[in-house]
C-alpha cells in the first residue's frame, strides 16, 4: 500500500470514473468488433454531439435525462440516415457513413461553440473530455448531496445496464454476432438486437462524453475488444479480457498523465489502450504476428527437410552409382538460407550423414522417416490417378504438396482404397515404416495456415 500512498481520494474517484467508463465501452465494443460494426460505433459516438448540444441549449444545464434522450434520438437518426442514404440515395455505404457523421459532428461543434459562454462546456471537452473534474461535482438527488461524484454514479449506472443487458441477452447477442443466418432460423430478431446494441452504444457514449469526449470514446469502444479478440477464441473470455484491458488502460493512463507526463488523462488512456493493442498484434500467443511468422517458418523448414529426405530416398532407390552431393540438393531446393537450415537440422537429428566432404546418405532412422514420406506421396498419386483420372505427368505436383500432410490413418485408408503396392509410375510404395506420424505434427501448423 505504501506504493499507492501518494494517490489521493480525488485521484481514486477519477480512476474509478475512468475504469467504469472504459469497461462499459469495452463490453459493448466486443460485439461491435465481432459484428464488424466498429465504424458504426465510431459514427454514432461522433454524431450524438448535436443531440447533447440541443439538450444543453434547451435545459441550460447538464441534466442527465435530457442529454441521454437527445443523444439517443440523434444516435438512432444516424443509423437510420446512413441506411437511407445508402439505399435510397445510392451513396456507397462508407461514404454515406462519412457524410452523415461528419455533418452531424460539425453541427454539434458549432452548436456547442455558440452555447459555450452560457454553459460550462467548451469545444475542448468535445475533444478530450474533462475526467479530471470528476470529483468536483458531487451527486445531488432532491437537494441532498451524496458522498459520490455525479459522474461516477452515472457511469456506474450505465456500466451496470450494459452488463445486465449482455448477461440477459447473452445467447441472442452471441448468435447474432457469429451466425446471423442461424439467428434468423432460431427466431431471433436480428434487427431488434442491432438497434438495441446501437441504443446501448449511444447511451454509453453519452455517459462517457463528459469523461473522455466524443472522439477518444472510439478508442475505448474498439481497442480493448480488438486486443482481447487477438488473445482468445472464446466469447466469455474475450469479454473478461476486454474489460481487464480497459481497466488497465484507465488506471495506467491516468497515473501516467497525472504523475509522469502532463497530458489530458483521457488521451493518455487511449494511448495506453492503443499500446496494449499493438503489443497484442505482435505478441499474442496464437493470433499474433510473431507467432504466426514463427509457425510459418517452422512449417517451411519442415517441408524443406522432408523434401531433402524424399530426394535422398529416391536417389538411393534408383541405385545411382555416385552419391548425392550437397550442391545438387541445395540447387534442387533453389538454394538459399532455408535449404541450408533444413539440411543442418536433419543432420543434427541424425537422419542423414555425410560421406566424404560433399556426399550425403540417409541413416537408418532417416530412411524410416523418408519411407513414410515417399509412401504418402505415392499413395496420393495412386489415389489421384484412380479417382480423378489425372494423366501420369500431372500427378507429381499435387502429391508433392500433399505428402507433408497425409496422416497415418489417412494413408491406411488410401492404401485400402488403391490396393496394389506400386504407384502409377510403376515404382514401389514402401510399407509403413513405423515411427513418428509425420503428417500428424502438421495439424497445428496446417490449421493455423488454413485460418488465414
Amino acid at each position: 500500500m505504501t506504493l499507492l500512498a501518494f494517490i489521493s481520494a480525488a485521484d481514486a474517484w477519477v480512476m474509478t470514473a475512468g475504469v467504469l467508463c472504459n469497461v462499459a465501452c469495452a463490453l459493448l465494443g466486443c460485439f461491435l468488433v465481432l459484428r464488424r460494426m466498429a465504424l458504426l460505433g465510431d459514427a454514432i459516438s461522433h454524431a450524438i454531439l448535436p443531440g447533447l448540444a440541443l439538450a444543453f441549449i434547451v435545459t441550460n444545464s447538464r441534466a442527465v435525462l435530457p442529454m441521454v434522450v437527445g443523444a439517443l434520438v440523434v444516435g438512432i437518426v444516424t443509423t437510420f440516415l446512413i441506411q437511407v442514404l445508402h439505399q435510397w440515395g445510392r451513396v456507397p455505404e462508407d461514404s454515406s457513413m462519412g457524410v452523415v457523421f461528419t455533418s452531424l459532428f460539425a453541427l454539434g461543434v458549432l452548436m456547442i461553440t455558440y452555447v459555450a459562454s452560457s454553459v460550462d462546456l467548451d469545444p475542448g471537452c468535445v475533444l478530450y473530455g474533462d475526467i479530471g473534474a470528476t470529483p468536483a461535482f458531487p451527486l445531488v438527488i432532491a437537494g441532498q448531496e451524496w458522498p459520490i461524484p455525479r459522474q461516477v454514479a452515472i457511469l456506474l449506472g450505465v456500466m451496470l445496464i450494459d452488463l445486465a443487458t449482455i448477461l440477459l441477452l447473452y445467447k441472442e447477442l452471441q448468435v447474432v454476432s457469429f451466425d446471423p443466418m442461424l439467428a434468423a432460423t432460431m427466431g431471433i430478431n436480428a434487427t431488434l438486437v442491432h438497434y438495441l446494441l446501437m441504443i446501448l452504444v449511444a447511451g454509453t457514449s453519452v455517459a462517457a462524453f463528459e469523461s473522455v469526449g466524443s472522439i477518444l470514446v472510439v478508442a475505448m469502444l474498439i481497442a480493448p475488444p480488438a486486443a482481447a479478440y487477438l488473445l482468445t477464441d472464446r466469447l466469455p473470455r474475450m469479454l473478461g479480457l476486454s474489460a481487464l484491458i480497459a481497466a488497465i488502460s484507465a488506471i495506467g493512463g491516468y497515473l501516467i498523465a497525472a504523475y509522469v507526463l502532463d497530458t489530458p488523462p483521457a488521451a493518455m488512456m487511449a494511448v495506453v489502450a492503443g499500446s496494449i493493442f499493438t503489443l497484442a498484434v505482435f505478441l499474442a500467443p496464437k493470433h499474433g504476428y510473431l507467432s504466426r511468422r514463427l509457425d510459418q517458418s517452422r512449417l517451411a523448414r519442415r517441408i524443406a527437410s522432408e523434401d531433402i529426405l524424399g530426394m535422398l530416398y529416391r536417389w538411393q532407390e534408383s541405385t545411382q552409382p555416385n552419391p548425392l552431393t550437397i550442391d545438387t540438393v541445395l540447387s534442387a531446393l533453389r538454394g538459399g538460407w532455408l535449404a541450408r537450415r533444413a539440411l543442418h537440422s536433419i543432420q543434427r537429428r541424425g537422419l542423414i550423414r555425410r560421406e566424404g566432404p560433399n556426399a550425403l546418405r540417409l541413416t537408418e532412422s532417416g530412411e524410416r522417416e523418408a519411407k513414410g514420406l515417399v509412401r504418402a506421396h505415392r499413395l496420393w498419386e495412386s489415389y489421384l490417378n484412380k479417382h480423378f483420372g489425372l494423366p501420369l505427368d500431372h500427378l507429381h505436383a499435387p502429391a508433392e504438396r500433399m505428402e507433408h500432410f497425409v496422416t497415418k490413418a489417412m494413408q491406411d485408408r488410401i492404401a485400402a482404397e488403391v490396393g496394389p503396392a506400386s504407384d502409377p509410375h510403376g515404382r514401389e510404395i514402401p510399407p509403413w515404416p513405423g515411427g513418428v506420424d509425420s503428417g500428424k505434427k502438421t495439424n497445428t501448423a496446417g490449421g493455423a495456415e488454413s485460418q488465414r
Partner: protein, 444 residues
C-alpha cells in the same frame, strides 16, 4: 454584425482575403481528388489518415521549433502515412478486420496527437499559437506562405488528375481491367494515396484533422446525384468543394469564435442535402414523383382492365361496349380495392375523359374503351407468351403478367404479336385475344 458583414463582402481584411483564397484552392483540390477516393471506397481510410496526421504536426513543431508550414506538412504527411500503413498491416497480418483497424488507428493516433500537443506546449520552445487550429480548423490563422504552398499542392493534384484521368478512372471502376491493360495497378493506387495524403495535409490549417475527411467525401457524394458521367462529376464536385470551403470560411470570418472546419462541413452538407432532394434524375423528390406517376399509371390500367373484364364476362343486350354499364360494386367484387380507393381511381379516369358517370353507373367513353382494350391486349399477350413459350401453367400466369404489363414497351408487344401469330394463337394484329385461363368472348 452588419458592419462585419459589409467588411467581409468587400474583402477589406487582408486576413479574410488570404483565408478565402487558401480555402478555395483547397476546396477545389479536395473536391476533385475526393471523387476518386469515394469511387475507390477509401472514404473512411481518408478519415483515419486525417486524424492520424495530428501527432505529426506537433512532433514536427517540436523538432523545427517554429510554425514552419512546410515542416509541419511533412510531419503530418509522415504520421498520416504511418497511420495508413498501420491499418494495412493490421488488416493483412492479423484477424482484426479493416473497420476495427480504422477505428483504432484513428482514435489512438488522435490521442497521441492530443498528448503531444500538451507536452510540447508545456515544455516546448517557440510560439505554438495557431497550432490548436489544426484540430478543428482556423482559416483565419493562415499566412500568405501557407496559401502559396496550398496552391502548389492543389496544382499538383489537379495536374495529376488531368494527366492520369484515364488511368485513375479505370483503376477506380475496374481494377482487374486496369491490371489486364498492363498498367501498374499498385503504383497507381499508391499514387492516389499520395495525392490523398497531400490533399489532407494542406487541408489541416483550414479544416482541421477531425473534419478534413468530410471535405473529401461530401462534395463527390453530392455531385454523384447530378450526373452519371465521371468528368462532369469531377467538375461539379470541385465546384461544390470550392463553394463550401469559401462559404464556410466566410461564415467563420464573421465570428472569431467559430472554427472553420465545422462551418465548411456544414456548408458542404447543405450542398449535399440540396443535391439529394432536388437533383433532376437521381434526387429523392424526382424519385418520389416518378414513383407516384408510375403508381397512378398502374392504378389507371388496373381500373380499365377490371372494367373491360367485367363487361366481357357480363352478358348484355348492347353490342356497343360504350353503352354497357359498370357499377362500383362490380369493381369491388373483382379487385381487393377499398371503395375509397376504387372511387379515387374512377374519379381520376373520369377527369381524363375515359369514363362518364351517370349517377352510380359508369360507362366507358370510346377513348376509354380503346385504352382498356390496349391494356387487356398487353396483359393477355404476355399471358399467352408465358403459357406458350415459358411453359407456365395457365392458372399461374395472371400474377406474372400483372407485374410486367404496365412497363412493356410497344416494340416488345409487336414482337409478341408476331411470335404468337406464327404459332397460330392470334388471329390478327391489334386483336384482343381471349384470356388463356378464363374462357370469354373475344373482341375484334
Amino acid at each position: 454584425m452588419g458592419d462585419s458583414f459589409l467588411r467581409l463582402l468587400t474583402l477589406q481584411d487582408t486576413n479574410t482575403r488570404i483565408a478565402l483564397l487558401g480555402a478555395s484552392l483547397l476546396g477545389i483540390a479536395a473536391g476533385a481528388i475526393g471523387v476518386f477516393i469515394v469511387l475507390r471506397r477509401r472514404a473512411l481510410m481518408g478519415d483515419a489518415l486525417a486524424h492520424a496526421s495530428l501527432p505529426g504536426v506537433w512532433l514536427a513543431f517540436a523538432v523545427v521549433g517554429e510554425r514552419d508550414f512546410l515542416g509541419l506538412m511533412i510531419g503530418a504527411a509522415l504520421a498520416g502515412a504511418l497511420g495508413v500503413l498501420s491499418i494495412t498491416f493490421i488488416r493483412a497480418h492479423t484477424r482484426i478486420k479493416e473497420d476495427a483497424a480504422i477505428g483504432i488507428v484513428l482514435s489512438v493516433f488522435f490521442a497521441v496527437g492530443l498528448c503531444a500537443s500538451r507536452i510540447v506546449q508545456t515544455h516546448g520552445r517557440g510560439n505554438s499559437a495557431g497550432l490548436d487550429g489544426f484540430i478543428l480548423g482556423k482559416a483565419a490563422s493562415m499566412l500568405w506562405e501557407d496559401v502559396v504552398a496550398i496552391g502548389i499542392v492543389a496544382a499538383v493534384i489537379l495536374a495529376s488528375i488531368g494527366l492520369l484521368f484515364k488511368e485513375l478512372s479505370v483503376l477506380c471502376f475496374d481494377r482487374e481491367f486496369c491490371a489486364a491493360q498492363g498498367w501498374p495497378v499498385l503504383v497507381l493506387d499508391l499514387y492516389l494515396m499520395l495525392l490523398l495524403v497531400l490533399c489532407t495535409v494542406i487541408g489541416l490549417p483550414a479544416v482541421g484533422v477531425v473534419l478534413m475527411a468530410a471535405l473529401l467525401i461530401i462534395p463527390p457524394a453530392a455531385a454523384r446525384f447530378w450526373t452519371t458521367r465521371l468528368s462532369p462529376m469531377l467538375i461539379l464536385s470541385a465546384m461544390i468543394g470550392w463553394l463550401s470551403a469559401a462559404a464556410g470560411t466566410a461564415a467563420s470570418a464573421l465570428d472569431e469564435h467559430l472554427s472553420t472546419g465545422p462551418t465548411i462541413v456544414l456548408a458542404a452538407a447543405t450542398c449535399f442535402m440540396v443535391s439529394m432532394l432536388f437533383a433532376p434524375r437521381r434526387g429523392l423528390i424526382a424519385d418520389v414523383v416518378r414513383r407516384r406517376r408510375l403508381n397512378r399509371r398502374v392504378g389507371m390500367q388496373n381500373l380499365l382492365r377490371t372494367i373491360f373484364e367485367h363487361l366481357e364476362a357480363t352478358p348484355a343486350l348492347e353490342t356497343d361496349w360504350t353503352w354497357r354499364i359498370v357499377r362500383l360494386d362490380d369493381l369491388l367484387a373483382r379487385r381487393a380495392w377499398s371503395s375509397r380507393q376504387a372511387l379515387r381511381e374512377l374519379t381520376r379516369a373520369r377527369r381524363e375523359g375515359l369514363l362518364i358517370a351517370i349517377g352510380p353507373e359508369y360507362q366507358l367513353t370510346s377513348a376509354g374503351l380503346e385504352a382498356a382494350s390496349r391494356v387487356v391486349r398487353t396483359h393477355r399477350l404476355w399471358e399467352l407468351f408465358l403459357v406458350e413459350q415459358a411453359a407456365v401453367a395457365p392458372d399461374h400466369v395472371d400474377r406474372d403478367a400483372d407485374q410486367i404489363e404496365h412497363v412493356l414497351p410497344a416494340s416488345i408487344i409487336s414482337m409478341l404479336e408476331t411470335r404468337l401469330m406464327e404459332l397460330g394463337r392470334l388471329a390478327q394484329r391489334g386483336a384482343v385475344p381471349s384470356s388463356p385461363h378464363r374462357p370469354g368472348e373475344s373482341l375484334v
